[in-house]
């Protein structure tokens, strides 16, 4: 806005004030209303006659009323008359005869000798008593010339793409006149010649103001990056970004949505400071784990609360997981039979999302009270806009590839030789010596050559297909509807993810004050993965199996049958059990079908000026069915029991009723707003599991459980929890400079009992817009500066139900030889349980330089969480092993920086950079276990081997804990010097005797690694040249280690990495790996496998082109794009992927890689049409 325009605005304001005073003098006048109408017209529309060609008038009237003449003129021209009938009574009859006379000449003839006069305002002819008009005109101090308006026409286009923007609002500043652009971006508006300022706004774009009297404007609107006027969605309301006191990051979705994504959580990767996102693996439909400002909890979830269109959903993948197959009672912790559960947010189609806001500090999250401690992510889906019906169609197709280049495995010859040596060492048969066993020849190693690369056998080019169609528009009823279809076949054979989703949002005004808004969505998805087979061993099934399978063996026998000997040489003699990875993929059915239905209905009433009241009712329903079948001939589990079939169903139902009011009032320099409300949410989980085994054949799979000879007991479970809440937020902005917010929520949960059932979570915040102060107001350098300070409490009640109640459990026992049900004291309830409470302090600054060319924010926070819900181990002589209790504290501190810069902003070429970086420091300040300051927690790695993480006072959670490797026993003298584990030989692993007691045992362990990165970052570069756009996201972590247990697992089971060829021999005494077959010390997990997990990843690259479609009538826009993800990773990590998290959302086991499937590389091309 230029200075001239600004001054003009001021003078117009002055006019209005004065006019109002003038009008007050007329207050008692009977003609007050008339006057008001006139004044309105005078202001709204300029008073200059349009200089276009005027209409020609022909009139032949004798002794008629003036009104009749006006009618005739109206019929012959575009003009209309504006007058009060009463004043026409004073007019005399008219005699007129004119032919093709210019309208104003005709008019002057009509008004000859009348007590009336007229003025032309646009196409309106205002008729008034002569003296009155003069009075008004003079009171307005308007120039001598009679006012004449200007017609301004123009086109609004996207500055970046050059595409017309339909539906943009063009408004005359300080007036009610406004119009919207048509589907070609064109508008026409009448403006006064003096002081006209057009305000042009469009959702998602920066608002501009122009002062003009000329027509045919071409105006460019820039997409909003982060200007202060941007409206962000906060809990139970919205706020202008510049008025926020809390720490909130909005994620710009216009760029994100162009990448084909499965799930909304993936859209956040690398795009918000202080938000760390890990995908658990490349499994089809796998979930993600999100940490906002570190983890606060050990047993509750650390995942943020998602609020999707007002409906709160915890991103807890466990709630979306089905149980393991029945009959596998001996499953280890790592083997739930299917690896990681499906993502909790898979049901939401990323293409339906309008905006995402990440609420981080207590001021922002306290309105979510007991669920706010991990941060809140607000997702708002698209709603219909008034105007012409629009339709968008988008299609993308791509391929995905297994990112398996990191590790090279031994080939057939190498492994056969290794296996011979290993078996020799262990006194077992050396197979590969041209021996023939049961008719099979086991050639000498050197004859085998490359053998089989089993990864190649199970991998393929994955397919990605996404199609979506959406409609929006409406007049009385606004609608937004979409249908989406997504199909992904992952790069591993036999696994796929499919999704179909439907959405419909309808909005309408029931009465002038009551608005109805309803969104319905239904999603059905299926995730098909190859699970593990052998008990206690595998977590990830196919990928892991392919890694360890013997490369000396061929996938198929010469007769074309599956090679039964594929997997483990030591079971060669076992008939009919096929350890082939191919049978895992083809002969195990493991499919999750998930149906999700969501309906949100809201009634919003505008009760009075500034007061609105909203009632919401929502239903969230998620049904999961897991189908399982292990083939009786080709899988181990199935073979053991003659085919193993199961069906697990997991239903969750959540209902929400909510009522809240919004109040806004401006009192002097204070802009006050308040929100207050009540909400009640019920959540119910129900599960049913049934299974049987011993089938006559494999034809029916799991579709007829009653056909099985052995039926397992059907298991059912049901829990319900209730949450009742009152909440309030009070906000005051003084003079646009000082902003104070108070927020509080009072939550009651059925999971707790009195007096801890209800708890209050307050927060307060203050912010100061320094840039509004006089000393900065005119600064050319600093365009925005705001300081923010907040403190508050939030909670975490994400603890499972029924923990305050003592319950009896069921078991079975053959009492008197007859199997029957038994009961036993199972859970010792703790009636003193309460919420984990997080106290959070946040100091932040938002800044902008050079007219926001560079802007950003920086935050420093301290979060202290007390009353951690932990399972306190009880002495087992109590009859119980543990009890959930509130003990211990965790502290998180950190700094986050977000920066946005416009590097180049010329007409054709533009370059923006968005970057963020966040570092968090976590400390377990109190373990809550009396004098104990170290707690060790083991996890199953493979076949009974356990690795350990630690909780140590004043250290971060989850430090790796293990032995320290000291190479190998190189020679006899070194072995003799010891200390050595019993059974050690020359060439065996050697460990440090840390406590110098001459024995290598558990006491010789220490912290060997830290999974927490020093900081994580993301940088997005957006380039555009005319219609061409390129955006690049680079993301990564610095510091932090990964425990790479993959090669260990593989070596325990079979093949291993080529690096292990560097094994000890009498001539290679400085080898890294022990001599083949020397397994002593294998289970002593050590620092040897702890690796630096820093990485820099080219997460996504998108290249798009927007065609100019002015010449096309039907198509509004066309965009084509190509995109790639996980293209390049720079890391020293030697495992497959430094980003995976094998234990998914676990709070304790982070950055542990036990052969997770690496994230895939994807290459996609897509096409969007707008109609």
């Amino acid at each position: 806005m230029n200075l001239f325009a600004f001054c003009t605005t001021v003078s117009i304001r002055k006019l209005i004030t004065q006019t109002t005073l003038t009008v007050n003098e007329f207050r008692k006048n009977r003609q007050f209303l008339q006057t008001m109408k006139l004044i309105a017209f005078l202001f709204i529309i300029s008073m200059q006659v349009n200089a276009t060609v005027f209409s020609q008038i022909t009139l032949f009237e004798k002794n008629v009323s003036l009104a009749k003449v006006f009618n005739s003129i109206e019929k012959q021209s575009d003009f209309v008359f504006f007058y009060d009938y009463e004043i026409l009574n004073e007019a005399s009859k008219v005699n007129i005869s004119v032919k093709n006379l210019q309208i104003f000449e005709a008019l002057s003839k009509c008004f000859e000798n009348q007590p009336l006069t007229y003025s032309v305002v646009g196409k309106t002819i205002i008729v008034k008593k002569k003296e009155e008009l003069v009075k008004i005109i003079s009171s307005l101090e308007i120039a001598k010339e009679l006012p004449i308006d200007v017609v301004v026409t123009g086109t609004i286009i996207d500055a970046l793409t050059g595409l017309p923007l339909a539906g943009a609002t063009v408004k005359l500043k300080n007036a009610k006149t406004s119009t919207t652009t048509d589907d070609k971006g064109n508008f026409t508006i009448n403006v006064p010649a003096i002081g006209n300022i057009l305000v042009i706004s469009y959702v998602g774009y920066e608002t501009i103001e122009v002062s003009t009297t000329k027509g045919a404007l071409k105006l460019n609107l820039k997409q909003k990056e982060s200007s202060g006027d941007e409206v962000v969605i906060i809990g139970y309301g919205t706020a202008r970004k510049k008025d926020l006191t809390g720490s909130v990051t909005s994620v710009n979705l216009s760029k994100v949505s162009e990448v084909p994504l499965t799930s909304v959580d993936q859209a956040l990767t690398g795009r918000a400071g202080g938000v760390q996102i890990n995908q658990s693996s490349g499994q089809a439909g796998a979930g993600t784990s999100i940490r906002i400002r570190g983890g606060n909890s050990l047993n509750g979830t650390n995942e943020p609360l998602f609020v999707i269109d007002g409906f709160p959903i915890i991103n807890d993948n466990a709630a979306f997981a089905a149980g393991g197959p029945l009959g596998l009672t001996n499953s280890g912790a790592g083997n739930a039979g299917q690896g990681n559960p499906n993502g909790a947010l898979n049901w939401l189609n990323p293409a339906d999302i309008q905006s995402i806001e990440v609420l981080k500090d207590a001021s922002a999250t306290a309105i979510y009270g007991s669920r706010g401690a991990n941060g809140v992510i607000i997702v708002t889906t698209k709603k219909g806009k008034s105007g012409q019906a629009k339709m968008n169609f988008s299609a993308s197709n791509g391929i995905s590839k297994l990112n398996d280049s990191k590790m090279t495995l031994m080939n057939g010859s190498e492994f056969a030789a290794y296996l011979n040596l290993s078996n020799k060492e262990q006194g077992l048969t050396q197979w590969y010596k041209d021996t023939t066993v049961k008719g099979r020849l086991y050639p000498k190693p050197e004859k085998i050559g490359q053998g089989t690369n089993w990864i190649d056998v199970v991998k393929r080019n994955g397919l990605i297909r996404n199609y979506s169609l959406d409609f929006s528009g409406g007049k009385e009823v606004l609608y937004a509807a979409s249908v989406g279809w997504s199909d992904q076949q992952t790069p591993l054979i036999g696994s796929a993810f499919k999704r179909v989703n439907f959405r419909l949002n309808l909005q309408t005004n029931l009465t002038s004050w009551l608005k109805l808004d309803n969104t319905t969505s239904y999603t059905q998805s299926t995730a098909d993965n190859s699970p593990s087979d052998i008990r206690d061993v595998q977590k990830y099934g196919l990928f892991e199996a392919a890694l360890f399978t013997n490369p000396a063996e061929a996938p198929y026998n010469s007769d074309g049958t599956l090679n039964a000997a594929g997997g483990q040489p030591d079971v060669l003699g076992t008939p009919n059990i096929k350890y082939s990875p191919i049978s895992l993929a083809n002969d195990i059915l493991n499919k999750n079908t998930i149906s999700t239905f969501v309906n949100n209905m809201s009634l919003k009433a505008n009760i009075a000026k500034g007061i609105s009241f909203e009632v919401r009712g929502s239903l969230f329903k998620n049904d999961l069915l897991r189908d399982i079948y292990y083939n009786s001939q080709t899988t181990f589990n199935g073979n053991q029991v003659g085919g193993l079939a199961g069906k697990n169903s997991n239903n969750s139902n959540s209902g929400l009723v909510e009522a809240f009011a919004n109040y806004n009032k401006k009192i002097g320099k204070n802009q006050f707003s308040a929100v207050g409300g009540y909400s009640y949410q019920t959540t119910e989980f129900r599960t049913i599991s049934a299974g049987s085994s011993k089938f006559a054949n494999d034809i029916l799979k799991n579709e007829s459980l009653s056909a099985g000879g052995t039926t397992y007991p059907v298991q059912t479970n049901r829990v319900e929890d209730l949450l009742s809440s009152y909440y309030v937020r009070l906000n005051n902005i003084y003079n646009d400079k000082y902003i104070v917010t108070f927020t509080g929520r009072y939550d009651g949960s059925s999971k707790f009992v009195s007096p801890n059932q209800w708890s209050f979570f307050p927060s307060g915040a203050f912010s100061w817009r320094v840039s509004q102060e006089n000393f900065l107001k005119n600064s050319k350098t600093i365009s925005d500066l705001k300081l923010r300070l907040s403190y508050g409490l939030s909670g975490n009640q994400a603890v499972s139900s029924l923990q305050t109640k003592s319950t009896l459990g069921f078991n079975q026992y053959p009492y008197g030889g007859i199997l029957q049900t038994g009961v036993f004291p199972n859970v010792l309830g703790n009636s003193n349980l309460k919420w984990e409470t997080t106290k959070q302090f946040n100091l932040g600054m938002d800044f902008g330089f050079w007219n926001q060319k560079l802007s950003g924010s920086i935050n420093y926070y301290i979060k202290n969480t007390d009353d951690l819900l932990q399972f306190l181990p009880l002495p087992s002589n109590s009859g119980y092993s543990n009890q959930l209790s509130n003990i211990g504290s965790i502290s998180n501190k950190g700094v986050e920086l977000e920066l946005r810069a416009t590097v180049v902003s010329s007409k054709d070429f533009k370059w923006d950079i968005n970057g963020n970086i966040g570092g968090n420091r976590q400390k377990m300040t109190n373990l809550g276990r009396g004098g104990i300051d170290t707690l060790l927690v083991g996890f199953s790695v493979v076949g009974g081997s356990q690795a350990t993480i630690s909780l140590i006072k004043d250290q971060p959670v989850g430090l790796f804990y293990g032995f320290v490797r000291n190479g190998l026993f190189r020679d006899a003298s070194q072995l003799a010097a010891g200390p050595a584990i019993a059974g050690s030989k020359v060439g065996t692993m050697r460990f440090k005797d840390l406590n110098n007691d001459g024995v290598i045992d558990d006491k010789d362990r220490r912290v060997v690694g830290n999974p927490n990165p020093d900081f994580t970052y993301g940088i997005t570069n957006n380039f555009s040249y005319k219609g061409l756009e390129l955006n690049i996201l680079v993301q990564g972590a610095v510091g932090g280690q990964m425990w790479n247990l993959g090669d260990y697992i593989s070596s325990r089971l079979g093949n291993r990495s080529k690096a292990a060829n560097d094994y000890w021999t009498p001539t290679n005494i400085n080898a890294k790996y022990p001599a083949p077959g020397q397994t002593v010390g294998d289970n002593n997990h050590s620092d040897l496998t702890v690796e630096n997990a820093s990485y820099l990843r080219l997460k996504s690259v998108n290249l798009g082109y927007n065609f100019t479609t002015k010449s096309l009538k039907i198509v509004r826009s066309i965009r084509i794009y190509a995109s790639a993800t996980n293209l390049l990773t720079i890391t020293k990590y030697t495992g497959y992927d430094p980003e995976v998290n094998s234990f998914a959302q676990s709070n304790l086991f982070r950055n542990i890689d036990i052969l997770s499937i690496p994230l895939y590389k994807t290459y996609t091309v897509g096409l969007n049409f707008g109609f």
Partner: protein, 454 residues
């Protein structure tokens, strides 16, 4: 616009919401029972009786697995492979193996299950409509019997242990200190006596009767060297005719003869995955191998060799008593684990008789019953008291080999040290007791003291 209408609209919605919802925060328990709603019918009582046995039967604890590893291996009978060899070599510590912890915690879970019944005696009696409340009494008696069996094992293995005679319910009773050995034995004897009073004399197969309690008393008294009472109790049971020896040694372990005449108390297993025994399957890990010194102790004529060893020709064979060729899975073998059998009691009587009255005819009569069934001749006549004692112990060694009894016998008679030294283990007197699991000591915040030396 009708403002009154709006206000009414608002008020209605608000009041409905607030007044109908805010009090409904009571948590409902759907899929499990709580104690206060339980024991409403005789069926509930039966359910609780079955439930209390399960912990010691289940995989990994008690008779499922831990006993084989701890009690057989820590003697000159068993062996143990790999990590489990620590027991045999006496290199175990309070935290190096999980089996001690399993045994400990499963025993206490079993005791908690028994206490659940005993605590609810009044409610159980209320459900009993029989005259004299005999059904309810029997149930409580069986719970006391089971509690005493567990304490009897614990006190021998660990010394004075925390004594729980009611369930732990509140914060202040989840963590209690150890009682003395004397206190624990007093409770064991009291419980067995109570059980003796309230259990019926005749019960269905596989269900304990009053004679089981009496037989246990005989063993308890013997352990306490109260030979008078031991002899009295063993004689009482022998005379009752409630039990007798199976004709052939192999019959004892024949699945077809489950809960046969020789059973005093057995942990029940059935051939269902997860409900069967896994001792058979443990052979696969080498855990049930016999110590090479066991085999030569048998005379070649001994009929028991072919049942005791899976491979009667191999001195390093796996045990052969607990085998089920038709097992449905590793946790699905169908034989019972016999905790106490009549042959044991017969030898208890022989031992008590000898200790009190020397190697008299009565003592010879009992030991020869056992020898004769094993197709062995009568014991050499005219042995001294000490010689006879050695003979009884040897007979127990052969008769009850690998039945998890040897350790108790060696400890009871002060021969544990010499037995362990004979197999080359390095002895320390601390090994008369097992260590209390390390995790248990840690969880007690200093309330539990460790056995000396660990």
């Amino acid at each position: 616009m009708n403002k009154i209408k709006i206000i009414k609209f608002t008020f209605l919605i608000l009041s409905t919401l607030i007044f109908t919802q805010c009090n409904k925060l009571k948590e409902k328990v759907y899929s499990s029972n709580t104690e206060d709603v339980f024991f409403q019918s005789p069926n509930d009582v039966k359910t609780a009786l079955a439930g209390m046995y399960r912990p010691m039967q289940a995989c990994c604890g008690g008779y499922g697995q831990a006993g084989t590893m701890i009690l057989n291996a820590t003697s000159d009978e068993g062996n143990g492979a790999g990590a489990w060899g620590d027991f045999h070599r006496l290199t175990f510590t309070s935290s190096s193996t999980g089996e001690i912890g399993d045994w400990w915690s499963q025993s206490y879970k079993a005791i908690a299950g028994a206490n659940l019944i005993i605590d609810n005696q009044a409610k159980i009696e209320a459900t009993d409509i029989s005259a004299g409340k005999t059904v309810a009494k029997a149930a409580v008696g069986e719970a006391k019997f089971w509690r005493a069996v567990n304490y009897f094992q614990l006190v021998q293995m660990f010394g004075g242990v925390p004594l729980r005679v009611t369930q732990a319910k509140r914060a202040d009773d989840v963590n209690i200190a150890r009682s003395t050995v004397v206190e624990v034995y007093a409770q064991i004897i009291k419980d067995f006596k109570d059980a003796e009073q309230s259990l019926p004399t005749s019960t269905p197969a596989g269900v304990v009767s009053k004679w089981a309690a009496s037989a246990y008393l005989a063993k308890v008294y013997l352990t306490q060297k109260d030979f008078t009472n031991s002899l009295a109790k063993s004689t009482e049971v022998l005379n009752s005719g409630a039990y007798s020896l199976d004709p052939k040694f192999k019959d004892v372990f024949d699945i077809a003869n489950k809960n046969g005449r020789e059973n005093i108390f057995a942990i029940q297993f059935v051939r269902v995955d997860g409900q069967g025994s896994r001792i058979d399957a443990l052979s696969g890990w080498g855990i049930t191998q016999a110590d090479p010194g066991l085999y030569p102790k048998f005379s070649p004529a001994d009929d028991r060799i072919k049942t005791t060893f899976e491979n009667p020709l191999d001195p390093k064979s796996n045990q052969g008593k607990w085998l089920d060729p038709a097992k449905v899975s590793g946790d699905g073998a169908g034989y019972n684990f016999i905790v106490y059998r009549y042959a044991d009691l017969v030898l208890v009587k022989a031992e008590a008789e000898n200790e009190l009255n020397g190697a008299n005819d009565a003592a010879y009569k009992e030991i020869n019953k056992i020898r004769n069934r094993a197709l062995l001749p009568n014991l050499t006549a005219g042995l001294t008291k000490d010689q006879f004692r050695d003979s009884v112990l040897k007979e127990r060694n052969l008769e009850l080999a690998l039945e998890q009894i040897r350790w108790y016998d060696l400890k009871r008679t002060g021969r544990l040290k010499s037995a362990m030294e004979s197999i080359g283990a390095k002895w320390n007197d601390k090994f008369y007791l097992f260590p209390i699991p390390r995790t248990e000591i840690d969880a007690s915040n200093g309330k539990l003291t460790q056995n000396p030396g660990y």
